[in-house]
Symmetry: C2
Subunit: 196 residues, 2 copies
Amino acid sequence: MTKVIADITMSLDGFVTGPDPDLEHGLGVGGEPLHAWAFSDDPVDADQLRAGTELSGAVVMGRRLFDIIDGPGGWNDDVGYGARETGRPPFFVVTHSAPEHRRLQELDFTFVTDGIAPAIEQARSAARDKNAVIMGGGDVIAQALAAGLVDQLHLHVSPIVLGTGTPLFHGAGRIELRQVDVQVSSTATHVTYEIA
Amino acid sequence: MTKVIADITMSLDGFVTGPDPDLEHGLGVGGEPLHAWAFSDDPVDADQLRAGTELSGAVVMGRRLFDIIDGPGGWNDDVGYGARETGRPPFFVVTHSAPEHRRLQELDFTFVTDGIAPAIEQARSAARDKNAVIMGGGDVIAQALAAGLVDQLHLHVSPIVLGTGTPLFHGAGRIELRQVDVQVSSTATHVTYEIA
């Protein structure tokens, strides 16, 4: 049974990037500690990455996140889906218009121009018996939450207060959750909630 | 060795109350789920309450929080320090001026009118070999964090996104943390961080 899972890293104060993210600095100014867990040697962290990839049948992202991933500092042979991963899911990018060209030709990108709901629906179909994962940015996840399109929230909470940056929950409204799993590593707390 | 510990419950999106908190509704509108863990039967939650109380040699709070605690819906024979607790620590209330009278005569309140730093210093002395605990509100903890007066952050993260209310970290700035303990109950995730 396919679930729609929002899966993202946030600071303890709810930011998914530091201030002023741009194409070369996707995590913004000083936001690098957010993703320390993804590069740690802790088996709990490695397991989070592996399980997330294995269960991911399709991925939804926003256009700004795509531009970062496809940009010069983005995914390469060592980082990102298609690198050392077991599978390469199809990606659905929510955008006003498709880009004229892209760097990452080897990955399967579909540009969805009629909104977040159709993008999630296409991802759900494409995911077959795996999950459809919304990987960000914060605004896309907040929109999906506000529209009631998310089944589970899978957050990697990094030990930093950023104070400013891109908030995860801005505009998402009030959401009651059920805490279903917490995995603790030396670098982060990985929490899974179902929308109640 | 006395530590200064900020100990408070927050929503997943970093609010310590819902909107419009007042004397009779200290958690604001719809903020009650924040404190569900404190009334749960889960032994992990009970242990959090017991350990926090046992290790607490003195307590710092802001004036608004004092007014709620001392108000008609505040602490009584069943809820709060002095109720079923093993000890009654001295309390230090950060305020512009001491109240003319108070309801909770049986507890030891000192009203500190020269700021958060002297209040914490008095609490640290009074705590002897136990900890000085800043229990809120959010603004007092944020001020103490911004001033570098906090050794540990002990947060009870409740499974709810409030969307609005009293933020915990507003004005605290950027703070790098070291995750030192995580306890998981059925109702909340209890995280302890040291200021890095």
